[in-house]
């Protein structure tokens, strides 16, 4: 494809629900072929943005383009090229999983039979079970399989792994990578840093309906701090002479020394080197969490209408 226009272009998007301002000047650009992480705490406006993008709700103001078209006017035609998994997956309780896949497939336009069969196997779905007998995770899997099997250029996934167990999450990540290999663009909304980190090339972080920052993950990391906790055989001594290191605490345990500090990502190597010299017993390196990104970069705590879950506060790298 020689088409270089972004798949999604949103500029200055606002959306009011009565007196509630859900989106307040949001920007988002997704280019062809990328996996774009769309991060924000609960209630920050991710689902609302996606609904505007799909032409389900009308923007109050701002510019919204999907495949260079207007989603509000031209929804069904544009939808032919995408597949969507809603945040709260709701299916028809009386249908079986397999029937649901076909019904969803018919709304997505065309889908690939071979891929459908592969995915059903990989996600360990029993297609003859009725949806009302499925667990939440299994319902989510039905929606994911339907979207991943669709012959779409764009996948729009709204917090797609919230009901999956860790094993299935791995399967999900593998399948998304497979789809990207074939040139599919993915918009992946999430409030969990680790998930986006594992998949995304580009990231847009929003908060209270506004884009806070956008770019590659490593770009963003450069300005944030990593939390390190190390138990060493010998005492590594006072580490505060290392550039970019702060919040240092040291505690002697019988034979060992427990050190904790935070450090600029750029100087992590030096610090780990010093710990290595002291003989590492255990080491935990926690990359900056979504919460930390907010807290450090903008010097405020999350607003009362937002919540950053424990899982995102304590996100560990993989």
């Amino acid at each position: 494809m020689t088409d270089t226009a972004p798949v999604i272009r949103v500029e200055g998007l606002t959306k009011n629900f009565g007196r509630v301002r859900a989106l307040d000047g949001l920007d988002l650009t997704v280019r062809r072929g990328e996996v774009h992480g769309f991060l924000g705490p609960n209630g920050s406006g991710k689902s609302t943005t996606i609904r505007v993008l799909l032409g389900l709700i009308k923007a109050t103001s701002g510019r919204v383009e999907l495949f260079s078209g207007d989603p509000w006017r031209d929804a069904p035609r544009l939808h032919r090229r995408l597949a969507y998994v809603a945040g709260d997956v709701a299916l028809w309780p009386g249908l079986t999983g397999g029937q649901c896949l076909d019904v969803l497939g018919s709304t997505h336009g065309a889908f690939d039979e071979r891929r459908r069969a592969d995915l059903v196997e990989q996600f360990q779905l029993n297609p003859t079970t009725r949806v009302r007998d499925y667990s939440k995770g299994n319902r989510q899997k039905v929606a994911l399989v339907a979207a991943l099997a669709a012959d779409a250029e764009l996948l729009v996934l709204d917090e797609p792994t919230s009901g999956l167990d860790p094993l299935m999450e791995q399967t999900f990540q593998r399948c998304v990578r497979d789809r990207r290999e074939t040139g599919v663009t993915v918009l992946l909304s999430s409030h969990i840093m680790g998930e986006v980190e594992a998949l995304a090339d580009q990231v847009t972080i929003i908060r209270r309906g506004r884009t806070v920052t956008s770019g590659t993950l490593s770009d963003m990391r450069r300005h944030t701090r990593t939390v390190v906790r190390a138990v060493t055989m010998a005492d590594p001594g006072v580490l505060t002479d290392i550039e970019g290191l702060a919040d240092h605490q040291r505690e002697r345990l019988a034979e060992l020394t427990d050190s904790r500090f935070t450090i600029d990502t750029a100087h992590l190597d030096t610090a780990i080197g010093r710990l290595h010299e002291a003989g590492i017993h255990t080491l935990t390196v926690t990359p900056p969490s979504l919460a930390a990104l907010f807290l450090r970069s903008y010097g405020e705590t999350p607003g009362p209408d937002e919540s950053v879950g424990e899982e995102s506060l304590a996100e560990t790298g993989r």
């Binding site: 609904r51 389900l56 028809w92 309780p93 029937q99 018919s106 709304t107």
Partner: protein, 536 residues
């Protein structure tokens, strides 16, 4: 949701929390039930009191409705019908027999199985609410609603001069009826997987109770005692006043409720004793098409309302011969049930068709309500995120709705025509029965139009449509018999049709109704295209 953080052993607090939650979920529907039922009873009482203001008139009424057994089968055998209270009990008998049980069923089904189905119960039980508390809380809130309704009933009757003791006993007996069905629904909610199953089975049992009560009353046997409707009737509030009969529904309701909460405390969340098996692993081509899928969604409702229509028309048709005999012997009978003068057979068909119109309109309102549920549960969002446009989605449902309406009206009218022909021994009523059924279509479509317009503009206000439907039902069932003023009768689109085949079909009005329905449907489509999805 801070109220959910309870200490693990804080049992009374846990029930209290659940009660507060259920009361919140149910607040609106409970209030609607109390007000609609209360208003219906007060309206009936006012109408009866105004119309039968002398003992002589009451006596004529009593003599009329006890002639033959048709009306006994429909409204029940009222002991002490020779009194104001008795007349009211008789007039209100048919409505109360369905609405009171429905109150109990719907409030309980909503707070138990429906919540469990949506997964909201999981959230609460995760928050340390004991397993059987939702059932207990649902029953308590429903009981409170029933008691309030009964209170309004007793006060309403007393207001129009019915003796207090009789008023109270009447209110308690019909309250007991609702209580039994609330307990039954709570038990069924444990046994079936789906709130639809709760409704289906409770309504089947209600229909059986109705039939048993009818058989018992007509044959004058103990069979009446097998039916919860019979228990209420045997309290005889305006006759012998058997207060002790109140113990039966109370004990039955308590036993059913206790069994339900016992089961709720023992079974796994989301499980059921009666569960559906597996099904096909692929969807048929029909299910993949928008219209075929709409048929799948609406089929249960179409079949259910069709069964109601056929039951009604079959019964009325089959009883028509006997009914004619009764009217020949007592001209006041026709007056009492609002048929007036004219060929008695036409009158019976006309009354039946009016009831059928109420059934058909109820189907339409419920079916449009299903669309709202598709949206509220989040399935519409998924459906519209594909290649299906809003217009095509709504249009395919509208086509199926119309097809369902035609099915219900045509088959029920056919059954009416055939049953009257068999009962009366000639085919004279066959054509009129069929044609008068068709004549009501525009009036029914006006209700569908109102429902679609509200759905298109503000799905949240869908309750208005049900209120309108309740008003229409009230006018259709009781308006003619109680001599409502013409302007009140005219509020219902069914009045405009002209009461065929007894009266002449008002073709001008039919055209106007059709046009009105068309405009309303167009408004619904236009508004739906312009609004955000999902809204609930």
């Amino acid at each position: 949701m801070s109220a959910l953080h309870l200490a693990p052993d804080d049992r009374p607090r846990s029930l209290e929390t659940m009660l507060r939650i259920v009361a919140r979920i149910q607040r609106r529907s409970a209030l609607t039930w109390v007000l609609v039922l209360g208003a219906s009873l007060v309206g009936t009482a006012a109408g009866v009191a105004a119309l039968y203001d002398t003992t002589a008139k009451i006596h004529t009424y009593a003599a009329a409705v006890t002639t033959g057994s048709t009306l006994v089968a429909i409204n029940g055998k009222v002991e002490g019908i020779d009194s104001l209270g008795g007349v009211i009990q008789d007039e209100f008998g048919f409505m109360v027999a369905f609405l009171m049980p429905l109150l109990g069923i719907s409030l309980v089904a909503r707070a138990t199985r429906r919540e469990e189905e949506c997964g909201r119960l999981e959230l609460l039980l995760g928050g340390r609410i004991a397993r059987h508390d939702p059932t207990v809380a649902a029953l308590l809130v429903t009981t409170a609603t029933i008691v309030s309704t009964a209170g309004l009933f007793a006060a309403g009757l007393a207001l129009f001069g019915v003796p207090l003791a009789g008023s109270v006993l009447y209110a308690l007996s019909v309250g007991g009826l609702a209580f039994v069905f609330a307990g039954l629904a709570a038990l069924l909610a444990q046994l079936t997987l789906h709130s639809r199953g709760v409704y289906t089975w409770s309504l089947i049992i209600l229909a059986a109770s109705y039939a048993l009560r009818g058989v018992g009353d007509v044959t004058n046997t103990w069979v009446t005692w097998l039916s919860p409707l019979g228990w209420a009737e045997k309290a005889a509030p305006f006759g012998d006043q058997r207060w002790w009969t109140l113990v039966i529904p109370l004990a039955a309701g308590l036993a059913l409720g206790a069994a339900a909460s016992w089961l709720a405390g023992r079974r796994d969340l989301g499980s059921a004793l009666v569960r559906g098996g597996t099904g096909p692993d692929r969807a048929s081509a029909r299910l993949r098409s928008p219209i075929g899928f709409a048929v799948w969604i609406h089929r249960p409702a179409i079949l259910g309302w069709l069964a109601g229509g056929v039951l009604l028309t079959g019964m009325m048709g089959a009883l028509s011969h006997q009914f004619l005999g009764a009217m020949a012997g007592n001209p006041a009978l026709a007056q009492a049930i609002g048929i007036g003068n004219g060929p008695p057979m036409d009158g019976l068909v006309a009354a039946t068709q009016l009831y059928l119109a109420v059934i058909a309109a109820g189907y339409l309102v419920q079916a449009v309500g299903t669309l709202r549920r598709e949206e509220g549960d989040g399935r519409l969002e998924t459906r519209l995120s594909g290649v299906l446009s809003r217009n095509r989605w709504l249009a395919s449902h509208a086509v199926v709705l119309l097809g369902g309406l035609m099915t219900i009206v045509l088959i029920s009218s056919l059954v009416l025509g055939l049953a009257t022909a068999l009962s009366a021994g000639d085919m004279a009523e066959f054509g009129p029965a069929l044609l008068s059924g068709l004549a009501y279509l525009p009036a029914e479509l006006v209700l569908a139009g109102v429902a679609l317009a509200v759905y298109g503009m503000r799905p949240r206000l869908f309750g208005i449509v049900w209120a309108g439907y309740a008003a229409m039902t009230f006018i259709a069932f009781l308006g003619p018999g109680l001599n409502f003023p013409q302007w009140a009768l005219d509020l219902s689109p069914t009045t405009q049709v002209g009461n065929p085949p007894m009266g002449a079909v008002q073709s001008g009005a039919l055209i106007a109704l059709s046009a009105l329905a068309g405009v309303l449907v167009a408004v619904g489509f236009a508004a739906f295209r312009r609004r955000g999805v999902p809204q609930n």
